[in-house]
Symmetry: C5
Subunit: 91 residues, 5 copies
């Protein structure tokens, strides 16, 4: 699992039907301190995450299908929580 920030959304009209009712978010990967680390991924929203919010991303297909309660969903990454607070030790 990784930490990310909602950066945008993608829109498709020609697509596999499994994506018809899904919100597909563009998620910037963050460091533990909440700074962008340069990468990104596309994840299905399951918690109503809004633009700019810090979120927990589950980036594994089998887990993603369990979260969506759909054993056949062709989905790899889902947004599973909105992070209120994170504590990082000084290093």
């Amino acid at each position: 699992m990784i930490i990310g920030r909602v950066a945008g959304q993608i829109f498709m009209t020609i697509n596999h039907q499994a994506y018809d009712a899904r919100t597909l978010l563009i998620i910037d990967r963050l460091t533990p301190e909440g700074e962008p680390s340069g990468g990104y991924l596309i994840a299905v929203d399951t918690v109503g995450a809004g633009a700019g919010e810090t979120v927990l991303i589950l980036d594994e297909g089998n887990s993603a299908r369990q979260v969506l309660a759909d054993a056949n969903a062709p989905v790899r990454a889902v947004v599973v929580g909105i992070i209120d607070d994170l504590t990082v030790l000084a290093s």
Copy 2:
């Protein structure tokens, strides 16, 4: 899932028979802003994506087999949608 752009196609005559009727596309990985990020992958087309189009790639084997409706397809990545538009927040 990631965003990519159709960059080319590969052709084989000696291959595992599962690939006989598949279109294998060379996909450049893109940043969320639509710029090439330097990497690439080979993916099976499922939406009729054409050269230069921006597409959504599903890069996990179990999901790919579900999209292809073939539990035995030895395929890891598939093109699952053509992206019409993407909204990225200023950061």
Copy 3:
């Protein structure tokens, strides 16, 4: 499996219910010599690891679910041991 150090913890109130009773640790990835290598991940604690401790991380979903004894846990990475000692050969 990789070696990491407990660097912090994340807290969520809006999340998938599978995370309600889990401790989610921020783990800095370490080199074999115990130095931070720059990356991190989020892992579920299973051994009571405390801040600053060096730990063994199992970073695969199916294994993580077996460790949690929950075939449906949407979890990819777990802390499976606290490392007392490590021997590295001179190279």
Copy 4:
């Protein structure tokens, strides 16, 4: 899936018995233009690929086992085709 070039072969006498009758090739990873990208992997040959040939690599365990028609093969990557030609768009 990725594109690679056959760079060599490895030989073992002490090994898990599942590898006894397999040819294990060293595969250099290539860019879509056919240039080495710096990485490599070890893959089981299934098409009789020879040294220097450009090949398609399937790098996922479940798919690899289907290609080998052996549900228990402890193999992650297989060579599944010899690439005759590849078309890359100017970018």
Copy 5:
């Protein structure tokens, strides 16, 4: 699969019980020419590999469990062979 060299061992007393009877080796990742490439991973030994030996690593959970003949082993990477010789083509 990748090539590595046995660089050390880790020791734990507080750990998931599945690791109680396992030897956990620190493996430096190697290039095909046998030079360290900078990365490492932790793998369970299955062939009695000693310090400094060049080995074949299988880095996928389902395969690792088949090698260990334990469908529930929470293990991702195993040492599956000791490499006697490797042939690399001039490039």
